[in-house]
Amino acid sequence: MSRIEGSGGGRRRVLQVKFVPDEEVLKHIADDTGIKVRKDKPQPSINLKRFVKKLENISDDEAQEILEEKNYVATLGICAQDPMGNGTSVSGGEVYSFQTPKRSSKMAELASELAHTPEQNVAPDRSKGPEKTAKTPQSGSNVMWAEIVWKCNLKKKEFVSTTPYRLRRRLAAPDSYLESESEYSASCSEEEDDEDQQQVNTVLSGQKTSAKTKAAPTPPPRNSLAKKNKEEKMSNLVEEYFEAHSSSKVLTSDRTLQKLRKRRLNQETLCDLLKKAPLAYAAEIIELNQQHESLFSKWMLQLHLGFNIVLYGLGSKRDLLEKFRTSLLQNSVHLVVNGYFPSITVRSILNSITEEVLDHIGTFRSPLDQLEFITKRFKEDSSLELYVLIHNLDSQMLRGERSQQILAQLSSLPSVYLIASIDHINAPLMWDQAKLSLYNWLWYETTTFNPYVEETSYENSLLVQQSGSLALSSLTHVLHSLTPNARGIFRLLAQYQLEKKDNPSYPGLSFQDFYQQCREAFLVNSDLTLRAQLTEFRDHKLIRTKRGADGVEYLLIPVDDSTLTNFLENQDEDV
């Protein structure tokens, strides 16, 4: 099998195939060996890629934007000399600009590019030698993946055919940003660009004319161009945005995780697995964190001078704050708030202040009253002081306007020292001028690159198997407290649901059918008894009822199949 040797080149070809006109796709399907084509194919595919990229540049002319941003930045008195500061060199335009809606296989393409970066460092022109691409270790999954992508592409042929149309439309717009380099071009070899440019015209016969119009126009005078471009860009951006959001149909592949036969991991195994994976760049991360730790005493000083401190930047800041707490706050009263905790509320924060810090017994009518009480106490007793550490001030539960208002007012007390961390990209939008002035923030950039272990563990993560053990144990517990008959009823429903588990449009068991079955099993004697039983189930959230289109009531156990199977097995063992 010469397959392995050619797989590198072959895979890349497959990746780019989406941008190739139909006839080429067909040609590609026709040849099965993969070696024959290899000789001439890589070249066009790469050209194509470059071509597509240039096209992308047409719509996002960022260079201008960046220029203007730079001006603003200059007026703000930024100096790039700051050695530790955040990437001030990054302009707002780069951060906030819209981008063209991307084709779905762009990700795969980029992945292959990224996978090849080191290799490229060694040999700049990778496209030339299949022996060089063969150097990369090809794992089994890579090949498999390539094949999957290939198949997907075939499935979506109708989409493939739309691409050139899009390209043509983009080309129609006059363009002067050809000379500006594409954002990702760095991973392509630069030297090839010139010859590629010429080959584009010859290779893409279908788009030849448009390609020529692209290359033809001479750039108009600079200053008028700038204005024109700006307007154009604005309208372009708007168009792009709505183009991306208008169609309800989104073009992505239809693959699901189930088809991949990857079992869903639960939280525990996930943790175990992650423990096995070594943390990359541990040394550098430690060094980075040490830099932040040297600021502790400064934070303390500034807290005492009436400022509050907010930490931002990529990476969990939990450990950092924890370290700050253990090293400097041991001798003072402090409150740690885990904002990422899913059931945290402002009320509980205020309660722990009044009850535990101020030793007040009693309740308050509203958080505002409570806040007033706290304010009064802190004003009366000047020796009282409190450090408040809030991990994730921007968490789901605390980001509301009212919560922030209360926290802001709390933090504005002279003897309450607040130090908090934020992570969400839109976190600063929580605060208006009034709140900002109450908070009196000093911003500290603390990029730690630490994984968000605690912060994400509460989240019902996308890929983590949800509610597994918890649901199971609650099921068992509730069922234990019920009569045998009730258990039997539930069991019937569960079994029925498991039988129908392969039917994706299973609506649930209709009440009448269920009643029939229960009667047959001598579990109930009237439909009233069943209803009473079901109400009890519903109160314990064991079942859910849903009215179908025909008005019939359907019953469903809102637990996933594996848990249900587990539950039934346990029940059998008990019996």
Binding site: G77, D82, N86, T88, E94, S97, F98, K102, R103, M107, A108, E109, L110, A111, L114, A115, P118, T136, P137, G140, W145, V149, E183, A186, Y241, A244, V250, T252, R255, T256, L257, L274, A277, E284, M300, H304, Y312, G313, L314, L329, N331, H334, V337, S348, I353, E356, V357, E385, D423, H424, I425, N426, A427, A434, Y444, T447, Y452, T456, L462, L463
Partner: protein, 705 residues
């Protein structure tokens, strides 16, 4: 999620600790105690100064308001016919207080206002905020609560029974409010005269002032109801409303329909604009010799820009100034010398050897040493004592420099602020920044403003010169005697010119001739001749003098307005690390995230991460790779594709000699890493789960971040 930690041991004293923290600096912790004390005293001085300024600025406004209140009150008191007329139409006296958009500063104004009123007019003041008053009921409750509390304050605690009537038990209605008011006023009436005289500032039936802090945020319904209800009772309760308005007085009419606003008798009061406030602050804090600490150009620019582009808040400006002070004293060990001249000698003499070394390390000092002759160089670098003497001399010079700088800057501002188009800026702060930035006489703007100054007319020039003389006379600098002499001489010369001017009137006649001619050809000819003659003509005496004056001003500028960072030892007095300040006050969290995700090498100094351009290496942290991949997707992202792409990249990044046997396990680990990275992206707000399609997530950002 909340945990309270209480220390078992007794806490240490707070004040000690603060000073202590100032000391916990890694290496050169020299004179920390002294530095901290200096810093604190300086800040306290500045703080009281700003408060004083604020008070002065508000004085006019407050006086106007008080007289307004008095008027409305006296009418109620005397029960004049006019008041009765007004009562018939039920108009409530209302003051609309336009405060400007810097809402955060309003609090201070309101606080001083209520204090002032409390002392001078009436004890019955209620401050209402929109967020406390979602409905009319809450508003009344709040209002009555505040009024009854404050009345307790005034009447002291002699009538305990009154205090016990808690606000909750009283039915919150206008009638109970009136009843309360009657009882209170009656009580004050019946009280002993001695008591009355002690609080004589208040009248017999003081008005009840209700202040709406943020009128715009109140719901229309609540305001309307309140106005209508209270207008019904205005003859029983001398109510006065004060509306705090951030935008424009038009908002009253937009919020209240005509039928309601006709119940108000509105008088408009305008507070000082925040820009003027800032100018005063800059004038009093920076352009003065009172404080040894000074801001450098970039820092000042940052502060002013935050003010102009972000919030218009003077409070924030002052906060930034405070941060500058703290930062300066914290990070610069030599800032111990940043003190008043009287203390300087003592402090210089007590410098340790380390501090002397610090001085020697200052870049400006090095430049200075290089310019000296070799003997002095050696002395400066080896002998601490000599260094101290020299340092003291230099610092004194620096103080003198600043004194002179301020005076000359003001003089220059007199000239430039009246030029057309203001080439050097209208405000003195712009001029100040320009002068601090670099040698102002080398800039184009300065050149053009000199050109324009050479075209000033006489009367302007004379008034400017007079202003300059006043400025220089009032300044504390001692070097200006000569300058003042010179300027006075100029002034007398101008005076003398006036007499001489009558004599030479030649040019006027030619112009008269010009008016006679109607023939186009002749006109052209004479014009050409005129032009010729003007070009060749000698300058008039006035013009000569004007040139002289401008040249003299120019020489003053060149002599005194040298940028501060050209002066030796400027690091001690001038704070110039703008980057720090900007990072703390005007941070860009999203940019930091963007950088960390796109260019991890910026933070993690590992060679493997180093790469060119926009791409990242495949050895980058997982989250960076996942992020980079998701940028390529549209609105929805297929998790499977994403996972595949991720594992491709990661596999390529792994060592090639990875165990084949454990590839299954590797797969799992990669899967786990992927899950972690994706949920981290979710936490950061880049994606969210989507129900549109199975195993898809929705992208929440557009563009690079």
């Amino acid at each position: 999620g909340c945990f309270v930690f209480k220390p078992s041991a007794k806490k240490r004293k707070l004040s000690q600790r603060t000073a202590h923290e100032f000391g916990i600096r890694n290496d050169d912790s020299e004179d920390t105690e002294l530095r901290f004390v200096t810093c604190q005293s300086l800040w306290n001085q500045i703080k009281s100064e700003t408060e004083k300024i604020q008070e002065d600025l508000n004085k006019q406004l407050l006086d106007n308001l008080v007289s307004f209140l008095r008027r409305s009150h006296s009418e109620f008191e005397e029960k004049t016919t006019e008041w009765i007329c007004r009562m018939k139409v039920r108009e409530i006296p209302t003051a609309a207080l336009v405060l400007g958009v810097n809402v955060t500063d309003h609090d201070l104004t309101f606080r001083s206002l209520s204090d002032f009123l409390q002392n001078n007019i009436t004890p019955y003041i209620a401050l209402l905020e929109a967020k406390d008053c979602p409905g009319i009921k809450n508003l009344m409750q709040k209002l009555m609560g505040q009024l009854m509390n404050c009345c307790v304050d005034v009447d002291s605690l002699e009538d305990e029974d009154y205090v016990q009537v808690s606000q909750n038990r009283i039915r919150c209605s206008m009638s109970s409010l009136i009843k309360w008011y009657e009882s209170v006023t009656k009580k004050t009436d019946s009280e002993t005269p001695s008591k009355r005289s002690s609080s004589s500032t208040h009248w017999q039936s003081p008005p009840v002032v209700v202040i709406f802090k943020d009128m715009e945020s109140f719901t229309t319904k609540v305001l309307q109801d309140f106005v209508v209800i209270s207008s019904q009772h205005i003859h029983e309760l001398p109510l006065v409303l004060i509306f705090g308005i951030a935008t424009s007085p038009m908002i009253i009419h937009r919020l209240l329909p005509h039928s309601v606003s006709s119940l108000l008798c509105i008088e408009l009061f305008q507070s000082l604009s925040c820009k003027d406030h800032l100018s005063t602050i800059i004038d009093k804090l920076l352009l003065t010799t009172q404080f040894p600490f000074k801001l450098g150009e970039k820092v000042l620019q940052v502060l002013i820009n935050i003010f102009l582009y972000h919030d218009f808040s003077v409070q924030n400006f002052i906060k930034g100034f405070q941060l500058c002070i703290v930062e300066h004293f914290y990070s610069q060990p030599l800032s111990v010398l940043c003190c008043q001249l009287v203390d300087l000698q003592k402090r210089v003499n007590s410098l340790s050897h380390n501090q002397c070394e610090n001085i020697r390390r200052l870049p400006s000092f090095r430049r200075y040493v290089e310019k000296q002759e070799s003997g002095k160089q050696i002395a400066l670098l080896t002998s601490d004592n000599f260094l101290k003497e020299e340092t003291q001399r230099l610092l004194e010079e620096l103080h003198v420099y600043h004194e002179n700088y301020v005076s000359v800057l003001r003089c220059l501002h007199v000239f430039t602020s009246s030029l057309p188009k203001y080439p050097l800026g209208k405000q003195i702060r712009e001029l100040h920044c320009a002068c601090l930035e670099n040698q102002v006489w080398e800039t184009e703007e300065y050149e053009s403003s000199l050109q324009l100054a050479r075209m000033l007319n006489k009367s302007d020039l004379v008034t400017m010169l007079q202003q300059c003389v006043e400025i220089l006379l009032s300044s504390s600098g001692k070097e200006f005697d000569q300058t003042v002499e010179k300027l006075k001489k100029f002034l007398t010369q101008f005076q003398n010119l006036e007499e001489a001017f009558q004599e030479q009137d030649g040019s006027v006649s030619s112009q008269k001739e010009l008016q006679k001619k109607t023939d186009l050809y002749h006109l052209q000819k004479t014009l050409l001749e005129l032009k010729e003659s003007r070009r060749s003509k000698k300058l008039t005496k006035f013009e000569m003098l004007r040139f002289e004056v401008v040249d003299y001003i120019d020489s003053l500028v060149r002599k005194y307005l040298v940028p501060a960072d050209h002066r030796t030892l400027h690091e001690i007095l001038y704070f110039n690390t703008a980057a720090v300040l900007r990072g703390h006050l005007n941070a860009a969290p999203r940019t930091a995230l963007h950088t960390a995700l796109n260019n991890p090498h910026w933070y993690l100094k590992n060679q493997a991460l180093k790469c060119d351009g926009g791409s990242i290496s495949n050895k980058a942290p997982d989250i960076c790779i996942v992020y980079k991949l998701h940028l390529e997707c549209g609105r929805l992202i297929n998790l499977v594709d994403w996972l595949e792409a991720f594992s491709t990249v990661v596999m390529a990044g792994e060592e090639p000699n990875a165990d084949r046997a454990s590839s299954d396990q590797m797969d799992d680990i990669i899967h786990a890493r992927f899950i972690r990275a994706v949920s981290e992206l979710e936490l950061l707000g880049f994606i969210k789960p989507s129900k549109q399609k199975t195993d898809h997530v929705a992208r929440l950002t557009w563009g690079g971040c």
